[in-house]
């Protein structure tokens, strides 16, 4: 703050952000947010100029997911604000704590179809946990505190604060008071664990089904101890990956549409499903009425509305997973079930002996996973490479695998990796992308160049929108509609234009050396990996099928 300069709404914003421990924000300036950017000039918070507001939103999401801290992004009114929407929707769907600040046209101009005016407050209703439009500068401080509180409380999510330009410019005094909660915290009933204990005692073939809520509840240790002490065979959702140790002999990998065969068969055969921070998503269950058809359900969740939403719970346990799960710990007599599972696991092990000289993407991702340093953070985009990453890579923690789970947003991976790397400058960050997805936010290479962010990009390139192509081949009689990307740019040349070192590999024999070169390189790096366009992701549970009806080849 310059001496003798009165505090404005814009200046107050940064003071409150600092109060909440915010060190980094992602954004893009414009007309209606200029007073805030002027105040930024005097702030200690580091701002990262992204090259599209969607990139800023995803970088904030990646920052939050990799660090456990709240992500903050900001944009101007109108198109700046609407460009944030996909990132907000992604954060809502995956329960990511984020605060988005938007500039708005001056109060007097609102409702007049002014230049760059859009009702972002109205648009935010369906894609945020909550939103505010500040109507007077005196309420700004309280609203900002509430935004942080709401984003982090209970099931986390994104909160938008829309601030008209005149309020950004108005003089104000800071009170330094944290505002009272907007509403009383939801009072959850004390967990009734007795029914769950009975169900677990009686179970002969129980399965532990772990979701993204475990990482969000900071309950990874509790879940691992529970899995270890009970010896329960366990499966994970896409967003739960990293919560369980991949080396745990009872861990069977991901379940669902592209889950492992053993995970899906075990869940189909189980007589008790213990769902922890998971929500029976359609990509997990396949045909819902045939999902774990003979199982009773114990369901741990923080969100009342997830209980009985898609599957009736015989024993719902609402509340903090960290406190409640240990109450269920007991030793189980399930040796026969464990032995059966072990045999199935052996019979269903992944194979990497792919014929020919062409590169096999699952083998590349397995090799990267084996060679990358401990605590590496991997982000993905959406498509075949995403499912191959989930299947063939192992992660130390949920915060080390960032993927757009519920929303399935192409363009997520590169900006999310930027955010992750900024939050964890000493860890390796790898963005696994596809030749379709990378082009969705390719402009963020400029952000990497500007700040020399040492993200490693692994571009799995089949010159196709591979997952859509796979479905067109399998379920639409091979009518390949708008999925050919053979005219993509030269990615190595493109990277060079941003001063990013890059390499193209096309043969299996080049894989190991290329991965090592990428990991050893100090700065950003792009490794383009050409694969066969006909390669499919297997197994695949076809639409409207039960998970035990998975396809393993065309």
């Amino acid at each position: 703050m310059t001496d003798n300069k009165p505090l404005t709404g814009g200046g107050l914003l940064f003071k409150v952000l600092e109060q909440h421990g915010v060190n980094h924000i992602f954004g893009y300036p414009g007309g209606a947010i200029m007073p805030i950017y002027d105040a930024l000039y005097d702030s200690n918070i580091q701002h990262f100029l992204c090259r599209h507001e969607q990139g800023a939103a995803f970088s904030a999401v990646g920052y939050a997911r990799a660090s456990g801290k709240i992500g903050v992004c900001m944009a101007t009114s109108g198109p700046g604000a609407t460009n944030l929407i996909t990132g907000l929707a992604d954060a809502l769907a995956d329960s990511i704590p984020m605060v988005a600040i938007t500039g708005q046209v001056p109060t007097a101009a609102m409702g007049s179809d002014a230049f760059q005016e859009i009702d972002i407050f109205g648009l935010s209703l369906a894609c945020t946990k909550h939103s505010f439009q500040v109507s007077h500068v005196d309420e700004l401080e309280k609203v900002l505190h509430q935004a942080f509180e709401i984003a982090l409380e209970g099931r986390q999510g994104p909160v938008l604060v829309d601030i008209p330009k005149d309020i950004q410019m108005a003089n104000v005094e800071q009170t330094f008071k944290i505002a009272a909660p907007l509403k009383n915290k939801v009072k959850l009933p004390l967990a009734d664990i007795s029914k769950a204990l009975d169900l677990l005692k009686q179970a002969k073939q129980p399965i532990l089904y772990v979701g993204g809520g475990v990482g969000m509840a900071n309950a990874v240790d509790e879940v691992r101890i529970f899995a270890n002490k009970t010896g329960l065979p366990s499966v994970s959702t896409l967003k739960g990956l990293g919560a369980l140790e991949a080396s745990d002999e009872n861990y069977l990998g991901m379940l669902g549409m592209h889950g492992t065969k053993v995970a899906n068969l075990a869940v189909h055969d189980c007589d008790l499903l213990i769902a922890v921070g998971a929500r029976f998503d359609d990509r997990v269950t396949g045909k819902l009425d045939q999902f774990a058809p003979n199982a009773k359900v114990i369901h741990f969740d923080i969100d009342t509305s997830e209980i009985n939403k898609r599957r009736i719970a015989d024993a719902p346990i609402l509340g903090d997973l960290k406190e409640n799960l240990p109450l269920l710990t007991m030793s189980l007599e399930i040796k026969n079930w464990q032995a059966k599972i072990q045999q199935m696991k052996k019979d269903c092990a992944w194979r990497y002996d792919h014929p020919g000289t062409n590169i096999f993407a699952p083998a590349v991702l397995k090799a990267i996973s084996d060679l990358m340093p401990k605590n590496t953070c991997v982000t993905t985009d959406v498509g075949q490479h995403q499912m191959w990453s989930a299947q063939h890579m192992s992660f130390d923690a949920p915060s080390n695998f960032l993927t757009s789970g519920s929303m399935g947003t192409m363009g997520f991976g590169l900006p999310a990796a930027i955010g992750a790397q900024i939050s964890r400058p000493h860890d390796t960050v790898i963005a696994v992308s596809g030749d379709g997805s990378i082009m969705m936010n390719i402009q963020e290479l400029a952000t990497i160049k500007r700040y020399q962010i040492p993200v490693k990009v692994v571009l799995i390139d089949n010159e196709k929108l591979g997952m859509v192509r796979q479905w067109q081949d399998l379920f639409f009689d091979g009518r390949l509609s708008e999925t050919d990307l053979a005219d993509n740019p030269d990615f190595v040349m493109l990277a060079a234009a941003f001063n990013i070192k890059a390499k193209l590999i096309t043969k299996k024999s080049e894989v190991t050396a290329a991965i090592n070169e990428m990991l050893d390189h100090d700065g950003p790096y792009l490794l383009q990996v050409k694969i066969d366009a006909a390669d499919n992701v297997w197994p695949l549970v076809p639409p409207n099928s039960a998970n035990n009806e998975m396809m393993e080849s065309a």
Binding site: F121, L125, K183, T304, S305
Partner: protein
């Protein structure tokens, strides 16, 4: 949603802080979660700034799916299903 299934009528009594766009939030959630709005009334107690909204909806889905979602909205104080309400399918009143 499947309109050939049996549609049930429900009356909800919602108490909420009288905050910006709270009515829009309730209507948006109600539509998105698959409930048809047959009518509503809304009034604000200016003494405590608490609004009482009566919402008449129909759906083939269990009403708990909607009440759980409305209850998650930040400004909502309480939601209950009014089992004593008369047949409300004819209610078209909208005083909000």
């Amino acid at each position: 949603m499947n309109t050939t299934n049996t549609m049930n009528n429900y009356s909800l009594i919602i108490m909420t802080d009288d905050k910006q766009v709270v009515l829009e939030r309730i209507l948006q959630v109600t539509r998105y979660r698959g409930y048809l709005i047959n009518g509503m009334t809304a009034k604000v107690n200016t003494g405590n700034n608490i609004a009482t909204i009566e919402l008449f909806v129909s759906s083939d889905r269990p009403i708990s799916l909607l009440t759980d979602q409305i209850n998650k909205l930040v400004d909502i104080k309480s939601v209950r299903v009014d089992n004593n309400a008369s047949m409300l399918s004819t209610a078209k009143e909208c005083s909000a």
